[in-house]
Symmetry: C2
Subunit: 221 residues, 2 copies
DNA sequence: ACTGCTTCCGTACTAAGTACGATGCCTGAT
DNA sequence: ATCAGGCATCGTACTTAGTACGGAAGCAGT
């Protein structure tokens, strides 16, 4: 069993298929992730994977579940705000590693065990703080909306973060028709985005704290 | 020219292809949206579409751009907070009509004219309010993160909103192993989600106002 | 009616998911 | 040591999807 090269070890199993799929998706994206390419990356053959997973959807579901497994749950020995903040920062890091994850979530409606466990932990964090259920519900929905939404925006940014081609794209765009047709966009780009030191990601913690402030205020009422 | 049935009118053009694609995607989702099915829906043939669009990616890009065109820009005769709120509510409605839109955005990096125009209008709303550029940047990033993220979550909810199958899914899940393994999730579901009158969507305006509060506070500093 | 353009579409090639059945290695019993 | 059974692996092939290519069909202007 096993294979000749590429994949390091012996027998394939579900776990190995899924982690391989995640690594491949990180490299080439989910759109271009195919069973054949995945099999190649694992040093295996397409049909072999089907002994360990039901079908491609099963792989996709499993990938999402493993992504949730990567997110640190909120620590239980901290006040809820601190704990929730930590898990959000962790979530953001994970989603940055796997930019395909949030969009994929839209189509997967059956949550896996790690996903459920993670949600359970977050709800536990909020519930044990004594917040009323209605506030817990709002808090979770709002905080995750922000985290997921920020992740989507970061994912759709050109470039991996280097900024070179990003500047090029924006530069070209600006030079063309943008200045006349889209004056605000042009000014914003020139006066802010193109300035040294600008980093879209800086808005994350600003927004997160702002959201947590709001939740806290909600809890007070 | 034209065709025998289905599609209403005569000659095909880019616009008709794109709106047809959007309608089809609303019905069957983007995943299952194929050139062949789209051609069928338009009463045409696969290859015919290629005289009006470059390829499938071009269709996808065009769909996203039309979605942005559907979102009402912030009214210019209102204070920024009111104006921004209105455009966010509009955006949320549009993204609810087109649940596939946000996930699709992740993979499209070339914005179309309507997209640029919309962004320009929102930036104009914030800039004309006299907010400093840094605040404008944070505000836009944070507000849109929330709007997009909320849309993704709503899209991944089971059921279209009827709630029947939603309850079934959750009910089954709860009944199984959930109560022991995921006590917080179980309690949350039983005590809150399953209660009559619960609507996930209610968190949107709560969150939106909370975010806008935060932005306002940011602007004050 | 003829030329040429625009629009359309029939055919066919390639990539991708995956059903089916065969092959070959490993284990435990003789 | 040999052999039967089982399981992981894979070769083949069918189906669906994107799309290149070249031809046909309707219309304008001469």
């Amino acid at each position: 069993m096993g294979q000749q090269e590429a994949g390091r070890t012996v027998t394939l199993n579900r776990e190995r298929v899924l982690t391989g799929a995640i690594e491949l998706a990180d490299e080439i994206g989910v759109e271009t992730l195919t069973i054949r390419r995945l099999a190649d990356a694992l040093g295996s053959k397409p049909m072999t994977l089907y002994s360990h997973v039901a079908n491609k959807d099963d792989i996709l579901d499993g990938m999402i579940d493993l992504v949730f497994a990567e997110i640190d749950p909120p620590p239980t020995d901290q006040p809820w705000r601190v704990a929730l903040r930590q898990r959000c920062v962790s979530a953001r890091q994970v989603l940055r590693r796997h930019p395909w994850a949030v969009p994929l979530m839209e189509s997967r409606t059956v949550p896996g065990p790690h996903t459920l466990g993670h949600h359970d932990a977050v709800l536990g964090c909020l519930r044990s703080a004594g917040l009323p259920m209605a506030v817990v519900a709002h808090a979770y929905a709002i905080v995750d909306a922000f985290v997921y939404g920020f992740a989507v925006q970061e994912a759709s940014l050109p470039g991996g973060g280097a900024g070179d081609e990003f500047d090029d794209v924006i530069g070209d765009m600006t030079a063309q028709l943008a200045v006349d047709a889209f004056p605000n966009l042009a000014a914003f780009t020139a006066e802010h985005v193109m300035q040294p030191g600008y980093d879209f990601g800086d808005s994350f913690e600003v927004g997160l704290d702002l959201v947590l402030d709001g939740i806290e205020r909600l809890a007070g009422a």
